[in-house]
């Protein structure tokens, strides 16, 4: 079980660094980075069996960040977990950087590049299947966005994983209720969402995606034999910065200098 004090501190650092990165790069997608910061913190704070000193360790868990637009938060998590220097985060989206605006496998600790939605769950299925075929340790994790679940390919993979009894696979949906051009409810309602995963024969857990104890519990729990786990994590887009919370605008806009100061104050105050 991860040390919850440590994961909360990691989440705070992820939020701070991601805010600085998108400000410096004038980049989009801070809202999604803030909504999944706690999920990333719990994963890299102790759930994932990875070794920052040996990123290519063969028995490691693999995390596929299927919502590739969450790159800033993922890179911040990896740097703060020790995969590379935190100072390197300053190169986000700059000329010649490996730290692309969508997740790149050229960054230490990243196994799969993503950015087009609907790819990551199949990749994670392939990893989980391959690990099973060779009776290897290691698990596959995928973090999905809610809007991404509009893609048919997600449901191809959702059919595949239980059929092949991939109980070494965990899919986490960052259910922040806002997609690219409106609320999930308005654009393409996913409800009853947990029921859909259950109907596809996943072992479904519904949690508050900002509750570290709850996240750690469902991510650490032993798998039910033969069943992949779906974690529906209810989150708030822009979580931790009051003026960003629940606002579509922050899928696109980068904070200016004054907004950054205010945002960092709020994030620091919340820890």
């Amino acid at each position: 079980m991860p040390n919850i004090e440590a994961t909360k501190e990691l989440a705070r650092r992820i939020r701070e660094d991601a805010l600085r990165m998108v400000h410096a790069a004038n980049a989009s997608h801070i809202g999604t980075g803030l909504s999944m910061a706690d999920i990333l913190a719990v994963l890299y704070g102790g759930v994932l069996r990875v070794d920052p000193k040996r990123p290519a360790w063969s028995d490691r868990d693999r995390l596929v960040m299927s919502k590739g637009h969450g790159a800033a938060a993922l890179y911040a998590a990896l740097a703060n977990a020790g995969f590379f220097e935190v100072a390197r985060l300053d190169t986000f989206c700059q000329d010649g950087t490996a730290l692309a605006g969508h997740v790149s496998h050229h960054v230490p600790g990243v196994d799969f590049s993503t950015g087009s939605l609907g790819h990551g769950l199949s990749l994670a299925c392939g990893v989980a299947l391959g690990l099973k075929v060779d009776a290897r340790a290691g698990r596959a994790f995928a973090i999905l966005s809610d809007g991404e679940c509009d893609e048919g390919s997600i449901w191809e993979a959702a059919l595949f994983a239980p059929h092949h009894k991939l109980d070494n696979l965990v899919a986490i949906v960052d259910y922040n209720k806002i997609q690219s051009f409106g609320s999930v409810k308005e654009v393409l309602d996913l409800e009853p969402f947990a029921d859909k995963w259950a109907a596809f024969r996943w072992d479904v857990e519904v949690v508050d995606g900002h509750d570290h104890e709850a996240l750690a519990r469902v991510l650490e729990a032993a798998p039910k034999a033969g069943r992949p786990r779906a974690v529906i994590a209810h989150t708030v887009k822009g979580k931790g910065v009051e003026f960003m919370e629940g606002k579509l605008l922050w899928h696109y806009k980068a904070p200016d200098a004054e907004q950054l100061r205010a945002a960092l104050d709020q994030v620091r105050g919340s820890s």
């Binding site: 693999r62 496998h105 196994d111 799969f112 590049s113 993503t114 950015g115 087009s116 609907g118 790819h119 990551g120 769950l121 199949s122 990749l123 994670a124 299925c125 392939g126 990893v127 989980a128 299947l129 391959g130 690990l131 075929v133 060779d134 290897r136 596959a140 048919g152 390919s153 191809e156 993979a157 059919l159 595949f160 059929h163 092949h164």
Partner: protein, 309 residues
Amino acid sequence: MRTAFIQELLAQSRARRDLMLLTADLGFSVLEVFRDEMPSQYLNVGVAEQNMMGVAAGLAHLGKTVFTYSIANFPTMRCLEQVRNDVCYHNLPVRIVAVGGGFTYSSQGYTHHGIEDIGVMRTLPGMVVIAPGDPLETTLATRALCDYPGPAYLRLSKADEPRVHESIEGFQIGHAIQVCDGADVTLVSTGGMLRHVVDVAEALRSRDGIQARVLSMHTVKPLDEAAIARAIEDTGAVMTVEEHNVGSGLGAAVAPVVAQHAGRRAAFRIFGVPDEAYSRVGSVAYMREMMGDLRSATQELVSARRQAA
């Protein structure tokens, strides 16, 4: 070709636990021998090409060499972005095998005509594109692909194609095979047209007094540019032949080599499927009428070269 493919993959897989075969629910009467003998290296993923390609990439990430199998355009165009992002971007050893290249499924309608696939696949960075000309080329290409690094597309026709080669010495991906030699024109063939091209070359020789060199360009990418350069210098006329859209396949790959060649000027023509939306359906021979007549097209090209000289 598909029989040659599965027999060779089966033979290689007996000694290679890292080889895996995925199918998107196609391969009836072809894949059963593999499925029954190698169940742990075989998986039918269902009618879901996008997921198949992502799963293949995930498996390849773990060190597997993965062959995916389907027909016509399904394993390429339906999941093109998975091929581009998940396979090519990560430079993973996934081999996309499609049967039904060209007009194999001629009477089944446009959905089943594989006539833009070479063009689509060869635009992807790092993607090897192979369209063997006969069963022996298929066997040797399959064997070579078991060890080739990076992604590849293997475009087959169907079963029972005539064998063209008695034997092939030193088959290599990216190296054209010269089937016969001639000084007047070079016919560069890819895929299942090879038998027809060799027959036309024989007719040109015996009836028209035209000596044609025939190259089997089984690998469209990476292209054997040296073989094209030699054809230009030695024969002064080059005709590419493919059961594929003229705008994006072998001919489109050869054209810049001809245009940029520093030596002799060559007469050049692309023989293939015209670029038009159509609803034509029928036998392979009927469909090939759209492409024109190869013998007379070659005669015209040779005349053009002689007039220009």
